[in-house]
């Protein structure tokens, strides 16, 4: 039984520790690690080594070499470093290697040493060079913080969505800080730095001096600082050999310890065991390792989820293993197999030695129409590798035409994008493409494209009608659509123009357009309207009152109501008002005026083209039975009965109906026979009916 505890050594009063080898590294390193830049990815990810980083010789043998190993030391990639001198290495959360060069350029490599992209940390960094750099991780992604030769900090909190932030100046900072680190508080990345006995906190707005609570006196310099992986805790090592441990917010001290070693440590990090509540800081010197613990506090550590595990397998191109795990865990297709296949396809499109046709076919064979696979994503990757033709081929497999559009736009295949958007039936998408096209093409080409796509054209027209009237006009001009141009100017004559001259001018333009459109009717009607407008203006000047914007009919009526009969007649002649209309309007106007004398004169001026029943009706409407009767006698035989009934002469109506031997008229009269007074008339009709039936 003794063997169990044999290799445990006491640590302090109540703890024990033991040492054993987890596994041995497979690598075969020739250099010492101290001569290399080293970066290990979190969660047991890969390790990157840059040998000879500081050599600047041009000879190939002495050039720096970048090696990437798995966590167990299996070589994954090795390449000769041909770019500029590297200051710092680090892995992003997506397991991309970020290499920060002295000139502020950051080169991004994949797990297999494949170059992905590069970006710059800005001009200021380029000018003053990089003194020091850190790669850090927050919940938003991985960031880069740079300390420049001018002792200024620049950082980007997320290299996936690069936004450079130049931090405020630290007052009086003449040399590099003794130590610094990035923090992340309230979703904002900050920098904590030590200058002599002072600590400063930098955020994007301000630089503020801070003091850790309960810090022992006598500190003249901070030699090391360490922040925990979750940014909750901070440890400070001072030149007095004193260690302060507390929250990263600097609001609370957890514990302190005096180790009595004044030499600056090589490294200081936070560590803990999974699911353990205990945390500790490990401090390392050349030949000494010290573990400083603190009181327990509950913390939940994020674990490596199955999704992340799958991602890692995919990154290592272990597709079959990943698929087997998915199948074993019975993950839904969309989260599992489909996703892995999609990743495989994205890898496949990077194989440059295989022809576009073969790649496309191979991908389609394997993926078919597996649910959850987005061909447009794969195509986007192909495009990213510069294989536009392959991307277009792959997009053909994408069943949702709407999904094809964004990539087609990116590839500048805007016209194809437009037809795909139209196919999708999503008008919003069509509109998006239209705006792209509008910026991309010159106006003429843009209009030509629209011409062949009526759906897009009407969409754009609708937009222009409300937002860009001038463009609408240009559109019609381009198409020689004179009919619509005419309508456009008519609308303008109402909406845009106030002055009568302006309105007439707009109408003239409209009339010209209508002639060009061979729409003689509209042209003539527009010219009439111009004449009418001018006349109405004159009438207002000469007679006063309101004439503008009245219809021709109403203009004539207004004239008669104002007693200007001569003018009305002149108007009727000038504008060819048909006789029937003139009679109707004159009749109505005179009755409105109750000018019975003039009405009678008018009725006798010639034979009425609308008959005399309307005269009866209108008099009755004004409750003038006396006048109505005058006209009833002149009503033609066909409407006689109706007229007589209107003036209330039921008996005579019956006589006429009997004379006409018209059954419909007889029933009409009968329906008007009410009360005792019409009793005799009703009988008379019944008799006439009976007689008619006998015959």
């Amino acid at each position: 039984m003794d063997c169990y505890t044999a290799n445990w050594n006491p640590l302090g009063d109540s703890a024990f520790y033991r040492k054993y080898e987890l596994y041995s590294m497979d690598w075969d390193l020739k250099e010492e690690l101290r001569d290399c830049l080293v970066a290990a990815a979190p969660y047991g990810g890969p390790i990157a080594l840059l040998r000879n980083p500081w050599r600047k010789e041009k000879t190939a043998s002495m050039r720096p070499v970048l090696d990437i190993y798995s966590a167990s030391g299996m070589p994954l990639a090795s390449l000769l470093w041909k770019s500029g001198p590297v200051v710092s290495l680090g892995w992003s959360a997506e397991e991309e290697l970020l290499c920060v060069q002295e000139d502020g350029a950051v080169l991004v490599y994949g797990l297999h040493g494949d170059f992905r992209r590069h970006f710059s940390m800005g001009n200021e960094v380029l000018q003053n060079r990089v003194l020091d750099a850190r790669i850090f991780h927050t919940e938003f992604g991985s960031g880069v913080a740079i300390l420049t030769g001018a002792h200024r900090f620049t950082l980007s909190a997320n290299v996936g969505d690069l936004k450079l932030r130049r931090m405020p100046e630290v007052p009086g900072l003449q040399s590099a800080p003794s130590c610094w680190t990035t923090l992340c508080q309230d979703r904002v990345a900050q920098i904590l730095l030590a200058v002599g006995p002072d600590l400063y906190l930098l955020d994007h707005a301000a630089c503020s001096a801070v003091t850790p609570p309960g810090l022992a006196p006598g500190v003249s310099s901070f030699l090391q600082m360490a922040v925990s992986f979750t940014y909750r805790h901070l440890a400070l090592f001072t030149d007095t050999g004193y260690i302060w441990m507390g929250t990263a917010s600097l609001k609370e001290k957890l514990c302190e310890f005096n180790c009595n070693i004044r030499a600056p440590p090589k490294q200081m990090v936070w560590c803990s065991r999974p699911r353990s509540k205990e945390r500790a800081v490990v401090v390392a010197w050349e030949r000494r390792l010290m573990v400083v613990g603190d009181a327990p506090e509950s913390i939940q550590y994020k674990q490596l989820t199955i999704q992340v595990l799958l991602d890692r397998l995919v990154l290592r191109r272990l597709y079959p293993l990943a698929i087997q795990i998915c199948e074993y865990l019975r993950l839904p297709e969309v989260q599992g197999v489909s996703r892995i296949l999609a990743h495989w396809a994205c890898y496949k499109v990077q194989q440059k030695d295989v022809s576009d046709e073969d790649v496309a076919r191979a991908i389609n064979q394997k993926l078919g129409d597996t649910p959850g696979v987005s061909y447009s994503d794969i195509a986007a990757r192909a495009y990213g590798c510069g294989r536009t033709e392959l991307a277009i081929k792959l997009l053909e497999y994408e069943p949702r035409s709407g999904e094809q559009v964004p990539l087609l736009l990116k590839m500048k295949r805007s016209k194809l994008a437009l037809s795909k958007a139209i196919e999708s039936g999503d008008t919003d998408l069509v509109f998006t493409v239209l705006l792209h096209l509008k910026n991309e093409l010159n106006r003429g080409d843009f209009f030509m494209t629209l011409r062949n796509q009526p759906m897009a054209l009407s969409l754009y027209r609708q937009f222009c009608k409300h937002q860009e009237l001038e463009t609408l006009k240009d559109l019609y001009n381009q198409d020689d659509n004179h009919q619509e141009l005419g309508s456009f100017h008519i609308r303008a004559s109402y909406a845009a123009e106030e002055r009568i001259e302006g309105r007439v001018a707009a109408l003239q333009t409209a009339a010209d357009a209508f002639y060009k459109a061979k729409n003689e009717f509209a042209a003539k009607a527009t010219e009439d309207q111009m004449r009418l407008l001018r006349l109405q203006r004159r009438l207002e000047d000469e007679l006063g009152g309101q004439f503008l914007d009245l219809s021709l009919h109403d203009t004539a009526t207004t004239l008669i109501l104002g007693g200007h009969n001569k003018r009305a007649e002149q108007l009727a002649r000038d504008f060819r008002i048909p006789d029937k209309r003139l009679w109707w309007l004159k009749l109505t106007a005179l009755a409105d005026l109750e000018d019975w004398e003039e009405l009678e004169k008018f009725s006798k001026s010639k034979k009425s083209p609308i008959g005399y029943l309307p005269f009866v009706e209108i008099c009755m409407k004004q409750h003038n039975k006396y006048e109505a009767k005058k006209y009833a006698s002149r009503v033609g035989p066909e409407q006689k009965v109706k007229a007589l009934l209107l003036v209330g002469d039921v008996a005579q109506a019956a006589d006429v109906a009997i004379e006409h031997r018209n059954e419909a008229e007889l029933s009409l009269v009968l329906s008007h026979c009410t009360g005792a007074t019409d009793g005799a008339t009703a009988d008379k009709i019944q008799r006439a009916r009976a007689q008619a039936q006998k015959k």
């Binding site: 649910p371 949702r400 139209i422 039936g425 999503d426 008008t427 919003d428 509109f431 998006t432 705006l435 062949n452 796509q453 009526p454 759906m455 009407s458 969409l459 027209r461 609708q462 937009f463 409300h466 937002q467 009919q483 309508s487 008519i490 609308r491 109402y494 909406a495 009717f521 509209a522 009607a525 527009t526 009439d528 309207q529 009418l532 914007d549 009245l550 219809s551 021709l552 009919h553 504008f575 008002i577 048909p578 029937k580 209309r581 109707w584 309007l585 109505t588 609308i610």
Partner: protein
């Protein structure tokens, strides 16, 4: 009266769920802007909103004051402003003006725009152009189906008609597809689908795409509604242009039913107040007369009044206990019925007064002559006189369109002279109206000779194709020849009547037009349902110049119960009239079906004409 349904008629699904869904979503959106806020509502959304959430519900979710979106500066002093609008550019400018005014005054407030039923990219772009995109937050209230009644769902999108059928703007089609998708999610997918018209086809295809993308739970559901029939309004303009003579349609034509309720003025209420009345199946009196020909309504109401009196009279001779029972149990119901009865009697009187004034009989006679195709000259002179006398701009326009569609366009001489007369009567700005009507195929000139028929059938083939878009305006309006006369003959739309048509005991759907005409739209639905396909209707489809489709999903059809197979959802794209609703309700009773109606909006002839009119503001 109010014919009962056959005993085996299926039950209607419960559509009140749609209201709850819309309300919950709205509340969620309001809560996204915590604290007190003022709500700006677009005028067109007020009535629909009122049917979903009344003021007290809004107040519960901290809506302080309500404003109408109009062309006036807002005087709100609230720190948070919420806008509930249709996705229209003019609304965006209104909001932009308000926000920019605040900015000028150095004032910062929170702004939220809720688009209903969805937002359009063009709107966001205008917000961006106006420089306020970053200042407002945008949301969507996907409220696209308002149950106006137990069997009538409205999208309340009257602009659909003009946007699609005049401007060729297809953006609402996606909204239709979304609405269908919602219905199939809630009530199971429809095993049998039929449709006619380009818009119907596009909506159908978009909807299928949505269904395919979102496979899963809905697939296994037992369908509650067995058939869906989609129909474009331009397949049948004629029916929508006719004067309505069934009660509900007539009330709509006379008083305008808005969002399921009507404002009865003092002439109806016989008091000095107007009264807003909800018209639906819950109004027991209305429910019995809504589908009746108007000539029967008055008699029915007076009989009803006598019955009511008799019930009141029972009070005499009651002992105390009976009286107590009567008061507590029956009196309230009787009083309610009394109130409704006097309202509808008032409405009838008012309608009669208006109709006799306008020579309604003459008008109806002319319409029937146009439908049957005789005495065309006489009808034309009638229309001319109608115009000369300035009876009503909308009515005159409607008659001209009816003449044009039934006659395959006006002869050139009439086309010119009627238009000239119209411009003289109602103002020259209507020149634009005529251009609109021509484009929509509502008022056209007869093509000289029949030489075009060959070209036409070729064109119509193209129109039905996916590549349809490639045809210019001129061609498509040419392809819109109505062929009404031939279709009418093929489908027997004008019933042969021996003796008088008994409107009290209707024998076919023609009763909704006094026995003179079976609504074309309803006849098509009837014929296709009978065949469960378009087989044998090829000639009609050719004459209609529209693409048709039919699709049966056998896997779902097998799962559907025989009850659900007699439930039919009819979708009218561009609006349906109450006459069509009444006609299909009648057909349902005859055949043991139940129809459910989904329309972009309830419409009538006046609304159609107004949508086409272009009168300066």
């Amino acid at each position: 009266m109010a014919f009962p349904h056959r005993p085996d008629a299926p039950e209607l699904p419960d559509f009140s769920m749609l209201k709850r869904l819309a309300r919950d979503q709205l509340i969620y959106l309001l809560e996204q802007l915590p604290g007190k806020k003022d709500l700006f509502i677009e005028a067109d959304l007020m009535s629909p909103l009122d049917r979903i959430a009344n003021v007290s519900i809004l107040k519960q979710h901290e809506v302080d004051k309500l404003y109408k979106v109009e062309n006036k500066p807002a005087l709100s002093s609230n720190e948070q402003l919420c806008f509930l609008v249709r996705p229209r550019i003019k609304n965006m400018r209104y909001i932009a003006n308000l926000v920019n005014a605040d900015k000028l005054a150095g004032r910062t407030r929170k702004y939220k725009v809720i688009f209903s039923p969805q937002k359009f990219y063009a709107c966001e772009m205008v917000l961006e152009e106006e420089g306020i995109y970053g200042d407002v937050s945008c949301d969507e209230w996907a409220f696209s189906l308002l149950p106006l009644d137990v069997d009538l769902l409205s999208m309340e999108l009257p602009e659909f008609f003009r946007d699609y059928f005049l401007e060729g703007d297809q953006r609402w089609i996606n909204t239709v597809a979304q609405a269908l998708h919602l219905l199939s999610t809630l009530y199971g997918s429809f095993p049998n689908c039929y449709g006619i018209g380009r818009c119907a086809k596009m909506s159908y295809e978009l909807w299928r795409k949505l269904e395919e993308e979102e496979d899963g739970e809905t697939k296994g559901r037992r369908p509650e509604i067995g058939h869906i029939f989609l129909l474009d309004r331009d397949v049948d303009f004629v029916t929508a242009l006719c004067s309505q003579v069934v009660y509900e349609g007539l009330v709509d034509d006379t008083f305008r039913i808005k969002c399921g309720s009507v404002d009865f003025g003092p002439e109806v209420t016989s008091s000095d107040k107007s009264l807003k009345v909800l018209l639906n199946a819950e109004d027991k009196v209305f429910n019995e007369i809504r589908n009746e020909h108007f000539s029967n309504v008055f008699g029915f109401l007076s009989q009803k009044a006598r019955n009511l009196q008799a019930q009141y009279d029972r009070r005499r001779g009651m002992d105390i206990k009976q009286m107590k029972n009567f008061v507590s149990q029956e009196l309230k119901g009787l009083k309610q019925e009394h109130r409704l009865l006097s309202l509808h009697i008032g409405a009838c009187e008012s309608i009669m007064k208006k109709k006799t004034k306008q020579d309604f009989q003459e008008l109806i006679k002319t319409e029937h002559a146009l439908l049957e195709g005789f005495n065309i000259r006489e009808s034309t002179s009638y229309i001319e006189e109608h115009i000369d006398r300035q009876v009503s701009p909308i009515e005159s326009l409607r008659l001209m369109c009816l003449l044009s569609i039934t006659e395959n366009g006006l002869i050139p001489k009439d086309y010119r002279s009627l238009k000239t007369q119209y411009l003289q009567s109602y103002g020259p700005d209507h020149l634009l109206t005529f251009s609109n009507l021509r484009r929509a195929g509502l008022l056209t000139e007869q093509a000289p000779g029949d030489t075009l028929t060959a070209v036409e059938s070729k064109v119509s083939k193209l129109v039905t194709d996916k590549a349809a878009g490639k045809i210019t305006d001129a061609f498509s309006s040419l392809a819109k020849r109505s062929n009404f006369r031939a279709i009418s003959k093929k489908l027997n739309l004008i019933p042969r009547v021996d003796g008088e048509y008994d409107l009290k005991v209707p024998r076919d759907m023609a009763y909704v037009f006094s026995g003179a005409y079976v609504p074309l739209s309803c006849r098509i639905v009837e014929q296709v349902l009978e065949r469960r396909s378009w087989q044998g209707l090829d000639e009609v489809v050719r004459l209609l110049n529209c693409s048709e489709f039919a699709f049966t999903d056998m896997t779902k059809d097998d799962k559907a119960s025989s009850e659900s197979l007699r439930l039919i959802l009819v979708v009218f794209l561009g609006g349906c009239t109450f006459s069509e609703v009444s006609a299909l309700r009648f057909l349902g009773r005859e055949k043991g079906y139940r129809f459910i109606f989904l329309t972009t909006a309830v419409t009538n002839s006046a609304r159609l004409m107004e949508a086409m009119s272009e009168v300066k503001a």
